[in-house]
Amino acid sequence: MTVHERPPRARLPSSFRDPAGYVFLEDGLFKRAVTFLGRADYDLFRESGLYEALVKRSLLVPHVEETREPDPEGRVYRTLVPEQISHISYPYEWSFAQLKDAALLTLEVQKTALQHGMSLKDASGFNVVFRGPRPVFIDTLSFEKNTGKAWVAYGQFGNHFLAPLLLMAEVSLELNGLLRSHLDGIPLELASKLLPRQTWMRLGPLMHVHLHARSQKKYAPTGGAEARPKAALESGPDRKAAIVDSLISTVEGVRLPGAKTEWIDYYKELKHYSREAEDFKQSAVRRVVESLRPRLVYDLGGNVGTYSRLVTQQGIDCVCYDIDPLCVNQNYLESKRNGDSHMLPLLMDLTNPTPPLGFGLNERLGFLDRSRPDLTLALALMHHIRITGNVPLARMAEVLARMTRHLLIEWVPKEDRMAQSIMGNRPDIFEDYTLANFQSVFGDYFSQEKAEEIPGTGRTLYLFCNRV
């Protein structure tokens, strides 16, 4: 088949905004097409040495150019095959430290671009993904020739990074959830309203959020096009480098107060397991991973990553999901410190996981639409989902079966001390929560490969294999 006989490339539903190119899937690989509209900037990107400078410092995902000829009919100038990222994650699934590192990465990319006569034309959080505990910039076509005096993506950087970081640090960690409802970032006017008054006294938040929000409001169309300072925008010195330096100082200065959450000391204060039981459980997880040799593992409710680390220590990628933002933060910081390149901690409420979002509901993928793990760990989790989340065991089995090939799940009986503590004073409406029903409903989707009692706990580890 010649180049011109190739079928039209199917763009990813998320890749429609930039006329300079698009991402498509071909032969199982994600590729990036550079259109003739993006040709001049892409050539400058390569010739200026910016690509090498960014890749050398691991700031940008590397790519190879396909050898196929330019395809004028398809309007494709170049086809790039970037390094494939094993698991895509989104800003609303990142902890505070992850979002902060992604913000600093974006600013470092922009700083490097300015040194090479180019500038970022957008500063979206979706341009960054995590390779293990390290952020990397993925949008190779975000660079344009540096011509204007102001940074066109300055507002977007505030929406996607600075506003959520300040809201998480100054108001509540849960406010990163606003990134889920505002896919193009949190409006600065909203952030300015929600932030406490004392942030007006700090130069960075004052300039880049509060005054920024006022300026955006002032120059909204109610003022009329004639009110816009077009002439001023085209004259004077280039302010981008100084703005980027100021943003770096501001982002570095956003820090989490010493907050504590319900689950952050869960393993430190572990009292419901004896040392023997804990050792047994760890050894069982290790043995399952060694025997299955999965390519990708999910650890659901993984807390600070204690069991995920048993997976990553074997050189296997593990996505460790937890509902607690401080646990995810701690896991991320520890994995980063230890150079655990196989660990990806992410924030997820399993009773309300990330849905598909955006235009056509397929711009951003939902939790169940991404990677399919070969093994999922659901340790000390089911009593939370059944009692706190009020999800019947049959529904739990059905969803887990849609997600994974193998499942290592810990059966926690209703009489268990921790299950009883979750139950508290509420009436027992959980009639399906019995061992016989657990085995029956999970048996509808999985075949049982192994069952091992955890000594002295009344709990049992089941290894299931998906029937499909």
Binding site: K149, M207, K217, L233, P237, D245, S249
Partner: protein, 58 residues
């Protein structure tokens, strides 16, 4: 309570550009002060003597 329709007709880009002009002088001056301060700190630091430097680089 006034509700803002964030999607409708708002042109935040111009406001963001205008603000950069407004704060351009401040951030440029701050960057200069920061650079001056870091140079001052470097000058104030006692340079390591040659044998010491060689020892440290081992």
């Amino acid at each position: 309570m006034k509700l803002t329709m964030y999607l409708a007709y708002l042109d935040p880009a111009t406001g963001s550009m205008a603000l950069q002009i407004a704060i351009g002088g401040v951030v440029t001056a701050l960057a200069a002060v920061k650079l001056f301060w870091s140079k001052l700190k470097t000058l104030g630091r006692k340079p390591a003597s040659e044998p010491e430097a060689a020892e440290k680089s081992r």
